[in-house]
């Protein structure tokens, strides 16, 4: 082949010594200086594996396919059901938890506390002591929510009798699941397991879910993407802020609830409960995101991230091309803002499946949409926009269904490309709540954290070994 460099205007990308770029521009040449740093903190083997995958035709095609599948997913609320009935494979003595797999004795405090609470709720134990013995005995099977198309915030505990949202992707006819949000304060997902927590769970599985089931029978399926889109225009990013989405959902449900067979007193209690919990929509946001990302699964060769999740010990990710394999690294402690009286020393390492929202281009990736909470997470509205813009450099494309008014209605950056994370060193932003490291204390702060690089370098290395040179 011939070299056609001489027939084009020379335009140079300078990688390395900045003085070379200066020389080119002072000689009148066109040059752009790359702010280069050794990829993967200087791991040469990862750098090589990554180089092999850059602009690889098979990976590019696979990513387009996976991303299109993600875009075309249409999650709707199908209903509410008991976990054991709804979730295929969820057995009677099984408890699902957030993040990658973790053994009982390795679990963080909030997760252990939540499991004890769940054992009490299920009636497997009379008191916390016998619940702890049972949990340690190996007679309960623990598994990640993600292995069962489910997601849960913080400890993410799903036990067989709990009511779960059933979200259906109309396009793929695939179902995803999440629990119903309990609210703030002493709640199971932060490891609280006192009598009031169990009592609330009982009420949720009896009254709350019954009323919602009755209402959904009247309303029919509720499309989630348009609802999220409107919420983004109203200042939510549907991870750390769900005030608008919760209101929109309630608006959709009130009339069906009133028309349903549910009693007036029960409807009033349910409306009060939802109206009093700005995070009520979070679990639906997560199940919708899970549905969109499950649509992208199973595409060989794709470097698109389908899961980011934390179990309070490890941060783990999965990619489309590497299937169900987890790539994990110790979970960071979030350097966020703490409630009065608490500090980083009190915090459990990063916890929860809620990073599924960022994986789907929402949450921290849609930070530009939520100026109201940027202060809360220590930033300015400009920084929020900058952050969303930065995420555009590590993603496959933009999701036009989720337009950001603050960025001239461009779609959110979505479809994290593990290659780009390693190549640029720009780490995915995750908006998150912070749990106390001891069970039952609850939320002690919130902040922005970054998905750790090591998960992505491991995923890239694994993918490189699966994709032949081309």
């Amino acid at each position: 082949m011939t070299i056609d460099l001489f027939r084009q205007e020379l335009q140079v990308l300078n990688v390395g010594l900045a003085s070379f770029a200066d020389a080119i521009s002072s000689a009148g040449g066109k040059v752009l200086a790359i702010e280069w740093a050794p990829p993967a903190r200087g791991d040469r083997e990862v750098a090589r594996a990554l180089a092999r995958l850059v602009n690889h035709p098979r990976v590019e095609a696979a990513n387009r396919q996976a991303f299109d599948a993600y875009l075309s997913s249409q999650p709707v609320i199908e209903g509410i059901a008991v976990a054991h009935d709804a979730i295929p494979g969820l057995e009677r003595r099984m408890i699902l938890h957030a993040g990658p797999p973790v053994a009982w004795d390795k679990m963080c405090g909030p997760m252990q506390g939540a499991i004890l609470g769940a054992a009490m709720f299920e009636g497997w134990a009379r008191d916390l002591g016998s619940a702890a013995k049972l949990a340690a005995s190996g007679k309960i099977v623990f598994a990640p929510c993600h292995h069962y198309s489910a997601v849960g915030p913080m400890a993410g505990i799903i036990s067989p009798s709990m009511p779960v949202w059933v979200v259906r992707d109309q396009k793929a006819d695939h179902r995803t699941f999440s629990t119903l949000n309990e609210g703030l304060g002493k709640v199971l997902r932060f490891g609280a397991n006192g009598p009031e927590v169990i009592a609330r769970l009982k009420w949720m599985s009896s009254k709350l879910s019954k009323v919602l089931v009755a209402a959904l029978e009247v309303s029919g399926e509720i499309e989630l993407k348009p609802l999220i889109a409107v919420a983004l225009n109203m200042g939510d990013e549907v991870h750390n802020r769900n005030a608008a989405a919760t209101s929109l959902l309630l608006k959709r449900l009130v009339s069906p609830m009133v028309r349903s067979k549910a009693s007036r007193a029960d409807v009033a209690a349910v409306v009060d409960f939802i109206a009093g919990n700005d995070h009520f929509f979070l679990n639906l946001s997560m199940a919708a995101c899970k549905a969109m990302l499950d649509a992208a699964r199973g595409v060989a060769g794709s470097s698109m991230v389908t899961v980011m999740a934390r179990n309070g010990v490890e941060f783990g990710i999965q990619t489309t091309g590497t299937g169900d394999r987890w790539f994990t690294t110790p979970a960071p402690v979030v350097d966020g803002l703490y409630f009065p009286g608490y500090s980083m020393a009190d915090a459990a390492p990063d916890l929860g499946d809620s990073a599924i929202t960022e994986t789907a281009g929402l949450g921290g990736f849609a930070m530009a949409a939520a100026p109201a909470i940027v202060k809360f997470v220590g930033g300015t509205p400009d920084q929020a926009i900058a952050n969303t813009a930065a995420m555009g450099h590590i993603t496959i494309g933009r999701n036009g269904a989720f337009a950001l008014p603050q960025m001239n209605f461009a779609g959110t950056p979505a479809g994290i490309d593990a290659r780009k994370v390693v190549d640029t060193g720009i780490l995915p932003t995750v908006n998150t709540g912070i749990a106390h490291r001891h069970a039952g204390v609850g939320q002690i702060g919130a902040g922005i954290t970054r998905a750790p690089l090591d998960c992505f370098t491991k995923a890239v290395t694994a993918l490189a070994s699966m994709v032949p040179d081309e």
Binding site: V15, A27, P226, G400
Partner: protein, 525 residues
């Protein structure tokens, strides 16, 4: 009734605020050839509005969560264009709405391409261990590559160059110190006039010297391609030199081609020269340490030195015959040294200059020692101590480990100048000075005091130390050739035009000295 092209398009479960949609409707309606256009969320009320406006979309299935675009146009073509425009609105990337400073600096080649989509060359000067990976990425992204970095494995070089060849791209390097493409200096390069002489060089300082001499002789360079020092290694097989040769052969702006290498593998040299025959243009070859005289043909001119290479190339460029070219006579009055001063000591920053000097000096004097011996020269026992005639390449790894290159940092060379000056057997010191981008901003200012001190110290001992050197550069270089030469002459350095001239002068001083001491009193000058 006339047929009016109409179309409706639905995006399912896709929300936009009504204000945004009204703006879009208005914009679509103003496109040439569009009669009516509407973008709505397809609620019953909104669809009723469409019906009233005469935009019938009743056959289209859409609900309140779906975005419906309906357009009526003069022709199918305008209709289609408007529909594409409408849908494109929703896939747009953000176009910096606030003009705020939220742009991330490019951190990877891929990010760089987002900012500069027409980029066609990556200049890589990372630490060597990462350079191959960056070069691989660059090739995969369709970029030509110049790898300035050294310490890249030979097998990586081979793989990169093969991959580049298959993609119609070029890899200059690794260890490619200099190139000039379309008049733009890359790496350590000089500001050289543009012209019709194209160069391909496996030697950085060789390329700099020849291109600067061409400039000084009033001619210019079309392209100067560096291949990296190992390109003519048997395993690499001259892939880049071959590519560069082909490219220059096909380049309409190039009339004369120059090939430069030091100590090429003979079989590779032969292969390259064979294809140089077919270039269809005159080719001047300077393969230091190889003797390809046998291959000389009317179209292929073999030059012995870098100086001769430039002179022949310029003659050919001017349409003269290479055979008519003579070397410039030296009209210097050679200074006289003492009988005890018997040796030449050369301290070089350019590896090729040291090579060339070794070859030339060995023709006149023996024994010649070097840390990078070639031809008749012998390896130095201790690179930190000179013996007999010694020529040192201070750019060699032994000297640059943990220290900047001697073209940037003159301290090591200045120290060595002082050491050689104290040696009563030193008659002549040979030095090179390299200008251009990347080099020290004012080499003469660094060297002049050291040279003055060396001459003064020898004089205190009653010796006449001769310092000879040349400046590789042009008047357009940031350091300015003439200014540098003048400053060095001021302190007593004999400044020649070329490396070869400097060596010849040194050889004559020491040679005449030897003859003087042999035949006492006879002036051989």
């Amino acid at each position: 009734m006339w047929h009016v092209p109409t179309a409706a398009s639905v995006i399912r479960n896709f929300y936009r605020d009504s204000v945004a949609l009204m703006q879009l409707s208005e914009r679509l309606g103003k496109l040439p050839g569009i009669r009516q256009a509407a973008a709505i969320m397809a609620s019953e009320a909104n669809r009723a509005l469409l019906r009233e406006a005469g935009l019938a979309t009743d056959q289209v299935e859409a609900g309140p969560n779906d975005l419906l675009i309906a357009i009526e146009a003069d022709s199918e073509a305008t209709l289609e264009a408007a529909m594409a425009e409408a849908r494109g609105t929703f896939d747009r990337k953000p176009d910096n709405p606030t003009g705020a400073s939220w742009r991330e600096p490019p951190r990877s080649l891929e990010m760089g391409l987002e900012v500069m989509p027409a980029a066609n060359l990556a200049l890589i000067s990372t630490p060597g261990e990462y350079a191959a990976a960056e070069a691989t990425k660059a090739l995969r992204l369709g970029l030509n590559v110049m790898v300035f970095s050294n310490n890249v494995a030979l097998e990586d070089e081979v793989a990169l160059k093969r991959s580049a060849g298959a993609r119609g791209l070029m890899v200059m390097g690794p260890d490619c110190g200099t190139a000039i493409l379309a008049g733009i200096p890359l790496g350590f390069a000089n500001v050289v006039r543009r012209g019709d002489i194209g160069l391909v060089a496996a030697s950085g300082s060789g390329l700099q010297h020849v291109s600067c001499l061409i400039d000084q002789l009033g001619h210019g360079v079309s392209q100067a391609i560096g291949t990296g020092g190992r390109d003519l290694h048997p395993q690499v097989g001259g892939l880049t030199m071959q590519q560069g040769l082909d490219a220059l052969a096909g380049d309409p702006e190039t009339r004369v081609i120059v090939l430069i290498a030091k100590a090429p593998a003979p079989e590779v040299a032969v292969r390259v020269l064979e294809s140089a025959h077919g270039a269809g243009k005159p080719v001047v070859v300077n393969f230091l340490g190889a003797n390809p005289k046998a291959l000389e043909t009317p179209k292929l001119h073999v030059a012995k030195t870098l100086e001769e290479t430039a002179i022949v190339a310029v003659a050919l460029s001017a349409g003269r015959k290479a055979a008519d070219v003579g070397l410039p006579p030296s009209s210097l009055n050679l200074p006289r040294t003492d009988p005890g001063q018997r040796y030449v000591r050369g301290l070089y920053s350019g590896g090729t200059f040291c090579y060339e000097a070794s070859l030339l000096l060995s023709e006149h004097l023996a024994p010649v020692y070097s840390n990078t011996p070639i031809g008749a020269a012998k390896p130095l026992a201790d690179v930190w101590h000179s013996q007999a005639h010694t020529l040192i390449d201070l750019g060699d790894e032994v000297f640059t480990r943990g220290r900047p290159h001697p073209m940037i940092d003159y301290r090591l060379r200045n120290e060595r100048i002082a050491i050689e000056a104290r040696d009563p057997e030193t008659a002549a010191l040979l030095l090179d000075v390299v200008l251009g981008y990347g080099s020290h901003p004012d080499p003469a200012a660094e060297m002049a005091p050291a040279i003055a001190a060396a001459i003064a110290e020898a004089a205190r001992d009653g010796r006449k130390l001769v310092v000879i050197g040349f400046v590789c550069g042009t008047e357009a270089d940031p350091q300015n050739l003439k200014r540098q030469q003048a400053r060095l002459r001021e302190v007593g350095m004999i400044v020649t035009e070329t490396n070869a001239q400097a060596v010849r002068v040194a050889a004559r001083i020491v040679g005449s000295q030897r003859r003087v001491s042999a035949k006492a009193g006879r002036n051989d000058n």
